[in-house]
C-alpha cells in the first residue's frame, strides 16, 4: 500500500519530517479507522483542519474524550461515518452540536461507552489482546445500544456477570506533542491524554504527529523516560507550532477560552458554520496561515496571553550511568575453607 508500510517504518535514521498537507494526504486514506488523540489538552487541531481541507471521507473514529470541538468540526464537515467514544464537547459551546445534528440526520453512526471502557479498549489494542474485562457499564443501556464494543458475559471462572469491551485498533493515530526528533521519537510530558500512548501504539499503520519543536536525537536520548512513542510507530513528523490551538499544550500555551467560545458560536448555529470553514479552515492553506489570520484579527497579545507563566522547570541532574558487568571478567570465584566455588 504505502512504501513505509511495506518496508516497515524504516530505521531510526529515516527522516520523517514533512508538511502537514503531505502527511495527511499520504497516510490517511478515505475509509480509515482513526485514533483521535488528545483529551482536553493536546487536541490535534491542525491535523483536523487539514483533514477537512482535503475532505477526507468515511472515516471511523476511536476516541476516549475530546474537548474544544475538533471532532465536532470534522463531523460537521462530513468526514466521519462512524464514531466510538465516551465524551465529546466544545466545553464553551455547551454541547457537540455538529455531532448531534449529524446523528439526528442519521448521517453518523455513534457508539457510546464509558470513559474507562474506552481507555480499556485502547489498552487492549496496545496489549494485542482481543478484549478487556471492565467493571461498570453493566446494568446500563450502554451495553444495550453498543453491542459493537460491549458485551456482558458470565465470568468463565466464577459465573458472575462481567462486561467485556472489545479492543480498538485504529489504522492511523493522529496526536499532538511537544517535541520529536526527525525519525519520530515523540517526547511528551505533563497532563496529556493518558490513552494517547495506548491509542498510538495500538494503531496498525502508525501515528501522525504534530509537534511544537523538532529536536536532535541526542536530546531525546538524554532523557529517555519522556519518550511517549518510539520512532518505529511514527509515520510522519510535522513541525507545527500551536498545532493544538485552541486547546492547551503544557509548557507552550494554555487553552484559548475566548476562541473556543467564538468557534462554539459557529458550531451552535448551523447556518453560520460554513463561514467558519471558509474563513478559518479552507481559507487558510496551512496552519501558519491560520495563525497569521488569528493574529490579524485578535492581535499578538491574544497569543501572548496563552503563554505559560506559572509552574516550574525541574533542575534535577539525572545520571544515566551504569555498572559495567565487564569488571567481573577476570575475577575468580570467591572461596574460603567451606566454600570451594561453583560445584
Amino acid at each position: 500500500m504505502h512504501e513505509e508500510t511495506k518496508n516497515g517504518h524504516g530505521g531510526s535514521s529515516v527522516d520523517k519530517r514533512m508538511s502537514l498537507k503531505d502527511a495527511v494526504s499520504r497516510f490517511i486514506i478515505d475509509g480509515d479507522a482513526l485514533y483521535y488523540g488528545g483529551f482536553q489538552t493536546m487536541v490535534p487541531m491542525a491535523i483536523t483542519h487539514e483533514m477537512i481541507r482535503q475532505r477526507k471521507k468515511d472515516l471511523s473514529v476511536f476516541c476516549t474524550t475530546t474537548d474544544v470541538g475538533g471532532l465536532d468540526l470534522l463531523v460537521s464537515a462530513g468526514c466521519v461515518r462512524e464514531m466510538h467514544l465516551a465524551w465529546s464537547m466544545n466545553w464553551f459551546a455547551r454541547g457537540s452540536h455538529g455531532i448531534r445534528r449529524a446523528f439526528q440526520q442519521e448521517a453518523l453512526k455513534r457508539y457510546d461507552l464509558s470513559n474507562f471502557a474506552a481507555t480499556s479498549a485502547l489498552m487492549a489494542g496496545f496489549f494485542g489482546i482481543p478484549f478487556m474485562a471492565v467493571r461498570g457499564n453493566i446494568g446500563t443501556d450502554l451495553v444495550k445500544y453498543n453491542q459493537q464494543d460491549l458485551r456482558v458475559i458470565d465470568d468463565p471462572f466464577t459465573g458472575e456477570k462481567i462486561t467485556l469491551v472489545r479492543s480498538w485498533r485504529a489504522d492511523v493515530g493522529i496526536i499532538h506533542a511537544q517535541r520529536a526528533d526527525p525519525a519520530g521519537n515523540i517526547v511528551s510530558w505533563g497532563t496529556r491524554s493518558s490513552p494517547d500512548e495506548f491509542g498510538a501504539m495500538g494503531s496498525k499503520r502508525g501515528v501522525i504527529v504534530t509537534v511544537e519543536e523538532i529536536v536532535a536525537p541526542e536530546v531525546v536520548r538524554s532523557d529517555p523516560d519522556r519518550t511517549l512513542i518510539p520512532f518505529y510507530k511514527t509515520l510522519a513528523v510535522v513541525h507545527c507550532p500551536w498545532g493544538a490551538h485552541p486547546s492547551a499544550c503544557m509548557g507552550y500555551y494554555g487553552q484559548d477560552i475566548r476562541f473556543c467560545e467564538y468557534q462554539g458560536e459557529y458550531q451552535r448555529n448551523e447556518r453560520l458554520l460554513h463561514h467558519f470553514f471558509e474563513k478559518w479552515v479552507d481559507g487558510c492553506p496551512d496552519h501558519e496561515a491560520y495563525l497569521q489570520k488569528y493574529v490579524q484579527q485578535f492581535g499578538t497579545e491574544s497569543l501572548e496571553r496563552l503563554k505559560p507563566k506559572r509552574g516550574f522547570r525541574p533542575v534535577l541532574d539525572v545520571h544515566y550511568t551504569y555498572h559495567d558487568p565487564a569488571v567481573w571478567l577476570d575475577i575468580p570465584p570467591f572461596a574460603d575453607e567451606y566454600i570451594g566455588g561453583q560445584e
Binding site: I129, A133, D154, D155, F157, E160, I162
Partner: protein, 353 residues
C-alpha cells in the same frame, strides 16, 4: 453465552494433569474489592517495627505474594521475621524468586509445624546462573506442594489484572502448548472475534511483601532499576508490608511525583531497614552476595542429595533463629562484606531528594 472451548493439546500432550473445579487461591475479586474499600486511605505515618508488621498481617492459610525478581529487590528481611514467627498452610504467589521462597521451603523441611507451604502460583523458582532450587525440587517431586504454573508474562498480567480490579485477562501465550494443562487458565471463544483465546484469572494476594529503594513515611515508594512487577503486586494485594532502604521526606515525593512507583494508599506497614534484600541486590544500594546465596543453596542441595538436614539446620540456627532482627543478621554478615557489596553496586544513580 460464552463457550468454553479447548484446543487439541489435551489429546496430544503427554503431560499428566488433574482437572479440578476452579477456585481462586486467595481472596476472590469481590472479597478483595471489599477489603481494599474498607482499608483506611488517609495519609498517616505507616512506620512500624518488623515484628509488629508481621504479627499484624501474616496469618495461617493466606496467599502471600513475595515481591522482587529472583534476587533483585527481594524482601529477605521480612521473610526472616516470618520464619521466626512461623506461619502455616501458605499459598505463595510470585513472579520469579530464589532465596526468599527457598528460605520458607527450608523452614518447612526443618519444622513443618512452624512453617508450611500448601501451594504456589508462579512463573519461576530457582537460582538463575547458580542452578535450580533444590528445596523446591524436593517439595515438588515428592508431591508435597501443589504448583500452578504460568509464563513470566502470564504472572505479570495476572497481577496487573488484579491491580485493575478485573477478574481475568486474555493473553496470547499459554494457548496451544502444554502450558494450558498446568495452570487454572481457560480457553474460551472470544465473543467479538469468535476466535479461541486463553484467559487467566487475576492473582490477588492477601499480603504482598515489597522492598523499595526509598519511601516517605506514608509509603509513597520510589523504585530504581528494574521495577520487577512490584507496582502491580503492591496494588493487586489487599495489604502490603513494605521495607525500604531509606525513608525520605514527603516534600521530596511531592517535588518529583513522577518518580513515585507505589502510592501510599496501597501500603499498610512501612519498615525502614537498610540491606533488607541481602543477599539479594538493590539497584543503587548494593550488589548480590553470591557467596552467601551459594552457601545457602549448597546446604539445600546437600539435603536433597543425602537427606541430611545438618547444614540446613546450621544455617537457620546461625542466620535466622540465632538473631533477633535483621540488624543482628547484618552484623553476622559483617561490615566488610556489606561495604564490598555497596562498592560492587558501582553507586548506580538513584534520586533521593
Amino acid at each position: 453465552m460464552i463457550n468454553n472451548v479447548s484446543s487439541n493439546i489435551k489429546n496430544i500432550s503427554k503431560v499428566t494433569y488433574k482437572e479440578k473445579p476452579f477456585e481462586y487461591w486467595g481472596p476472590t475479586p469481590a472479597e478483595a474489592r471489599k477489603a481494599v474499600v474498607n482499608k483506611p486511605h488517609g495519609l498517616r505515618d505507616k512506620r512500624t517495627t518488623m515484628k509488629e508488621a508481621v504479627d499484624r498481617h501474616i496469618k495461617d492459610g493466606m496467599n502471600l505474594c513475595i515481591g522482587g525478581f529472583v534476587n533483585t529487590r527481594v524482601p529477605t528481611a521480612i521473610i526472616h521475621e516470618i520464619v521466626r514467627k512461623g506461619v502455616k498452610d501458605l499459598t505463595i504467589s510470585i513472579q520469579s524468586m530464589s532465596i526468599c521462597c527457598e528460605l520458607l521451603a527450608g523452614a518447612m523441611i526443618l519444622d513443618p509445624d512452624r512453617v508450611s507451604i500448601r501451594r504456589v502460583e508462579l512463573a519461576w523458582w530457582g537460582y538463575e546462573i547458580i542452578g535450580i532450587a533444590p528445596l523446591f525440587r524436593h517439595l515438588v517431586t515428592n508431591g508435597i506442594i501443589e504448583v500452578d504454573d504460568y509464563t513470566n508474562y502470564g504472572m505479570s498480567v495476572r497481577f496487573k489484572a488484579a491491580s485493575m480490579g478485573i477478574p481475568f485477562v486474555p493473553i496470547r501465550d499459554h494457548g496451544g502448548s502444554d502450558m494450558e494443562l498446568v495452570n487454572r487458565g481457560k480457553m474460551i471463544e472470544c465473543p467479538f472475534t469468535k476466535e479461541n483465546v486463553y484467559i487467566v484469572p487475576s492473582c490477588i494476594p492477601d499480603v504482598a511483601l515489597i522492598n523499595s529503594t526509598m519511601a516517605d513515611k506514608f509509603g509513597n515508594a520510589r523504585l530504581f532499576g528494574a521495577l520487577c512487577t512490584d507496582p502491580e503486586m503492591a496494588t493487586a494485594a489487599n495489604h502490603v508490608i513494605m521495607t525500604t532502604e531509606k525513608v525520605i521526606p514527603s516534600e521530596a515525593i511531592r517535588t518529583y511525583p513522577n518518580l513515585t512507583e507505589i502510592p501510599y494508599a496501597a501500603v499498610d506497614c512501612l519498615v525502614e531497614q537498610p540491606f533488607a534484600s541481602h543477599p539479594g541486590a538493590v539497584y543503587g544500594n548494593y550488589w548480590f552476595d553470591m557467596d552467601h546465596i551459594r552457601m545457602f543453596r549448597n546446604a539445600g542441595e546437600e539435603f536433597r542429595k543425602t537427606g541430611s538436614k545438618e547444614a540446613l539446620q546450621k544455617y537457620y540456627d546461625e542466620y535466622v533463629f540465632g538473631v533477633a532482627d535483621h540488624n543482628e543478621f547484618l552484623e553476622k554478615i559483617g561490615f566488610r562484606t556489606l561495604q564490598k557489596l555497596r562498592d560492587w553496586d558501582g553507586h548506580q544513580p538513584v534520586i533521593a531528594y
